[in-house]
Structure formats: structure tokens, C-alpha cells
Symmetry: C2
Subunit: 205 residues, 2 copies
Amino acid sequence: MGEKDTGTEQDILGAAEEVFIKKGYAATKTTEIAKLAGINHAMLHYYFRTKENLFNVVFQKKVKLMADSFFLVAQEKKPFLEIVQMTVERHFDFIRGNSYLAIFIINEINSNEKNSQVWRNIALPIFKNVIKTIDMMMKVEISKGTIRNIDAIDFILNIISLNIFVFAAQPILKGLKNVSEEEYEKFLDNRKKENVRLALLALQP
Amino acid sequence: MGEKDTGTEQDILGAAEEVFIKKGYAATKTTEIAKLAGINHAMLHYYFRTKENLFNVVFQKKVKLMADSFFLVAQEKKPFLEIVQMTVERHFDFIRGNSYLAIFIINEINSNEKNSQVWRNIALPIFKNVIKTIDMMMKVEISKGTIRNIDAIDFILNIISLNIFVFAAQPILKGLKNVSEEEYEKFLDNRKKENVRLALLALQP
DNA sequence: CATGTAATTAACTAAATTGTTAAACAAAAA
DNA sequence: TTTTTGTTTAACAATTTAGTTAATTACATG
């Protein structure tokens, strides 16, 4: 044990992540990964045996990353509405920094039952836990009358929907707004505020 | 002129829509389309010459459908907030009836610049027009003080985000809720109401 | 019915793509 | 140094897939 990953293995993985996430499984050619990693393409098979194998390594890693990205905050001892704000903002920032990730995962889950299974095994437990935590916090607030009686899943779904879609539809939006990179970033900043606002509004009694 | 489409041509198109939308361009094999259409696969090339050609026909048709799905309502002479409600509901119903469509289009746009171009040519003009109409109506309401000063694009983006994501993430949600088909449909009905509510809330002064 | 045109089929080609293998090479252990 | 083990390479094999073609059938028109 303790075998540290070789340089080449990491190179392959890094390149695979990049190409798979950008193009999806079907459109990705192993030769392209090899080329990007700067290695002979036999090496790819030497380390990972098959394309599917390599994909699974990448996919599982990314599913975990995605699942963890949500609601790490829930622990902190702050007022609930402040926690909500922080959570939305952090999630938004994460998606912003990984703008291809969400659509990649959603797409692979939609187009392959095996990937759905991977999601269920890795992400679902994490998510269920998150929902449980949020749900408990919400129940307290509801009983205090500070927020309205809304289902935790619906609440979380609002946030994820609003945060992810801006980036999933990025090419569309850029075509629509047709502004400079700088101004587009400002639009995103504003979008983050909007999403926080809406998430909080949705809780109003 | 006036050549009505032959039966086979329609069969191919129908099958192509089904497979392309479900699997995306790269994962689709022309042989599968031919098989589903119940024809010799040479016919596919006879009528459409290339896979790309066939895809473009499908894609353009669907992009137009998607673009038109939004805000056909804007004409009617009703109070603004009622128009908003109807619009959100109709859009939700459309997405519900075409649940693979949105993610298909988003994905193809993200993974191919040519498809981005198609979107720009077909959907953008329609969308810009819709935004203009909404924007005008909103400006009137804003001056009356009935809604807050919010950008039309942001407002529309809220609606589309909320409506589309539930269906894009359908396999995830079904795994999460893990209820009967019937109960899941009820969840969606409730979701529609929630989205209307949120869209209206976002407008509150 | 004859003749020309369009639709259909089966067999084929060319290229791409995943995966294998045997041999060369490098590095560490004996 | 020799041996052993793991890494890398180039060449190859097998399969899949888009696209073609030439021959056949169906169909309409004179």
C-alpha cells in the first residue's frame, strides 16, 4: 500500500477529467485524452484498462465533489437565515468555478443507467444527510414562525435550480446579453445576490 | 413543389428525434435510428445524406419548438400578474411534456459551436422579442409601483431555471424521493405552484 | 404495355477507434 | 553486474460506424 500515484497516471486522469467533462463520455476519444496528457495512448490502457474504467474513476470523483459542494455550512452556529445566505453563496461560487461540472453529471446520469447507480451510491447518502440537517433546522424555525411551512427538498431544489441553470445556459446567456467578459462577470455577481434574495423570499411566512 | 414528405422520410425523422434527444449527437448511431425507423440504413443516407445533416434538421426543429414554447401568452389583455402566472404554468407544462428536450439542447449547445450558431440564428431573435415585450410590460408596472425594479432577463431566467431544472434532474429526484409514479406526479403539480409563487414573489416591491 | 424515374436493398469501402502485444527501456534489488 | 520488475513504445488487430454503389424493385406517365 501507500503506492503514490505515478506522474503519468495523474497526467492521464487530469486530461481525462478535462475532456470527459467538456465533451461527455460518448464524444470523448481516448486518443484525444492521450494526446492532451502527452503520452502514448497505450499507456492509458496500461493504467486504466478500458475507456469505461477511466471514465468511472473520473465520474465517481466528480459526483462526490458535486455532492460535497452542497451545504458544508450547516454546522455553524449562526442564525438560520444567515446560514442560508452563506450556503447559497458558497454553492453559487462552487458552480461558477466548475461551470461544466453540473451539466456533465446531469447529462451522464440521464443517458446511462449505470451512472445513475453511481450517483445513487455516492451522492444520495450525502444528500439525504444534508436534507435531514436542513429539515431539522427548518422545523425549528417553522415552529417559531420565522419561516413558512415549506418542504426541505423544495427549498433546496429552488437554490440548486437557480444556481446551476445560469451556468448550464451560459452560451445562451452570453449570446443574449452580448456584453464584455467583465460586464458578464458583474451580471453573475448580481445573479448571486438575486438567488440569495429569492431563496430567502421563498421562506417568508 | 408541394412534394409531400414520404412516409419513410417521416419515419426516419421521427426515429432520429427520439434517439438524438435521448442520447445526444455523439452517442447516437445512425444504424440505431434506421433500426428504430424500420428501414434499411442506406435509406437514411438517401434522404439526408449525412448524420450531421439529419441531426441539424432535428436540432433546428427542436430549437424552434423550445424558443416558441416561451411566452406565447404575452399578448392577452389581462393583468400583468395573471399573465405571469399563466406563462409560468404553460412553460412548466411544456417542459413536463418534453422533459428530455431542454437538457438535450443545452448539452448540444455547450458541446458544439455550430449548434450554438443555430441557436443564435433561430432562437435568439424569438427570445429577444419576448424579452422586449415583457420588458415593456414590466416597465409599466414598475412605474405604477406594483412590482419592483428588476431586469426582465433576470425575471425570465428565474422562471426558466426553476421550471427546467426539476426535469433535468429527474433521475436524481426520483432516486431521492423514492415514491410511486403517482406521488411523483403530485410532487410535480406542487412544484408548478411553487414556481408560480416564487416567480411572483420575485416581483414584489 | 413500355419506359423512365424514384425508392429500396444488400454488399461493400474507408476511416476511426478501442484495445492488445511483443519488444525495448529504465530503475531498483539481489 | 545481473536479474527482476515495472514502464513505455510502436506496430498491429478487431470492431464499429458513416457513407457509397450498383443492382433490383415499385411506381407513375406516355
